[in-house]
Amino acid sequence: MGFPHPIHPGENPVLSTHFGDPGAHSHAGWVERGGYTALRQALAMAPSEVVEVVKASGLRGRGGAGFPTGLKWSFMPKEDGRPHFLVCNADESEPGTFKDREIMRWTPHALIEGCAIASHAIGAERCYIYIRGEFTEPWRIMTEAVEEAYAAGVLGASALGSGRRIDIVLHRGAGAYICGEETALMNSIEGKRGNPRIKPPFPAQAGLFGLPTTINNVETLAAVPHILTRGADWYRGLSLGNSKSTGTKLISVCGHVMRQGNYEITLGTPMRDLIFDMCGGMRPGRTLKAVIPGGSSVPILNATEVEGCVTDYEGVVAAGSMLGSGGMIVMDDSTDIVYEIYRLTRFYAHESCAQCTQCREGTGWTVRILERILRGEGKASDLDLLLDLAENMTGKTICVLSDSCAAPVVSGIQKFRADFEAYLTAGRPHALAGV
């Protein structure tokens, strides 16, 4: 079910089965719904066996990068005598993305169970769940669920009586988009400014507190219990054509569709079906103009590119963008796309940690150039200047925030050049104040 709308026949609810079901919140309710059998099963297996099952399922990271989860787990050193950490990234801040929030709100124990299984698999005694500061309701629900899990013996010195220690600590962020970047997030837990770190070393070698660390997204970890109980083959079979993209994915759809919300689809579902069938299409009298398909950091697709796009990791790349976090921002023909791109660049300028010159200066310059275009004071050379700037912001910094600011600008100018030129030639100032 893709809360808050009723389940659509085109969906394939796995993680979202209990969205909107208040009975699934509690430990008892979760157990009644089959919860914690996967953890019991995993604790009876060797950690390496759990890693192999997840590898075989084809599960890939749901936070944005799509890296194979089992492979990531296998990078953790074995029997090195040092403490290991699992970190769950619940800093969901990518504009357009609101799926992890629903997982925590409705099925907190699914996340706890996934974290506990992953902790066992990578040899971690402690898992930190980093929840963004603004998520006050998920924070309260997760706090209660973790307390319940300790009281029920799921967590603690002997998880489910296995003799294996598994602890979960919730850590609250304080308003910084960049802390969703894994190394920035680790610095933030350590009580520092959330500046991303240079890689290598990668977290599996030197992560949180300098120790071997695996960091996974909420949705990734919440999928793990299902893979354990129903099997890697079952999960691998959830795929509409491409064996590299397996399983289901929560797609958050927002913007100009009739029914915004989270839709859990089998990877490979046509994007057209998602937008025009499941979400009810555009508002009456409107047509599709553009979609940002993977959270705001990925290139914009125009309506023609959406038409043939298959919603999986490879399919969205083939269409000219990326699946990213699965946060889809849909824009109809009423949209002033120049303004929306400007608004996104303002987001990145605000959220830049300012370590790297290309990002600190580049995001600010981009905003100021777009502002003057919107004011009707742009120069004919401004589009080339924006593209030149974008090139210098791409692939040159510690993390990809700078690249993410450049992506909508470059794709926007490529695909909607006429919209930009209208501002340049007609001198048409933007109607909104404050620009």
Partner: protein
């Protein structure tokens, strides 16, 4: 240092005493370093005082064995830590693209009018509200979301604003 900061100087009763100190100390076992308790400690200060003053920065630095410069660097990095006194209720409204597509600009207009704040970042003359614009709140399908203190409110429209504010004295 702003005028608001200066008026607080010398009038800072410690935050980390009694129960609050006990709550902080209870976290020590959850992290291998004291420094890692900084973000939770700053939340405790803000909960107690509504903002994080230079005196509070000095206090938490002493309690956790850090330099005030480090703590100040952290406070200024994270937008949710308030560096000056706020209204009794802080309203954080999302205006990032997905919400803008669904009319957040009108919600902001209604908030500024109904609270009497007049402009973003300002506190209303009666000290009741401060309205700030924030980047993506992660609830884009429920535009426009806002936080009033710790209450997360979805699907705010200009028409709902006046009614929602009544609950906050």
């Amino acid at each position: 240092m702003s005028a608001a900061h200066a008026t607080e100087a010398g009038t800072h009763p410690p935050v980390f005493t009694g129960d609050t100190l006990a709550r902080l100390e209870a976290l020590y076992d959850s992290y291998p370093t004291r420094q890692a308790c900084l973000l939770p400690a700053l939340w405790m200060i803000q909960e107690a005082r509504g903002w994080i003053s230079p005196e509070a920065i000095a206090e938490v630095a002493t309690v956790l064995g850090l330099t005030p410069a480090h703590v100040r660097g952290v406070v200024t990095f994270y937008t949710m830590y308030h560096q000056h006194p706020m209204g009794r209720h802080v309203i954080q409204v999302c205006t990032t693209s997905p919400c803008h597509l669904n009319g957040s600009a009108d919600v902001v207009g209604a908030l500024l009018k109904e609270t009497g704040c007049g402009e973003l970042g300002a506190t209303s003359p009666d000290g009741r509200f401060t309205v700030v614009e924030v980047e993506c709140l992660g609830a884009c399908g429920f535009a426009t979301p806002m936080l009033i203190d710790d209450d997360f409110i979805e699907s705010v429209t200009p028409e709902r604003v006046a009614g929602l504010l009544q609950r906050y004295e």
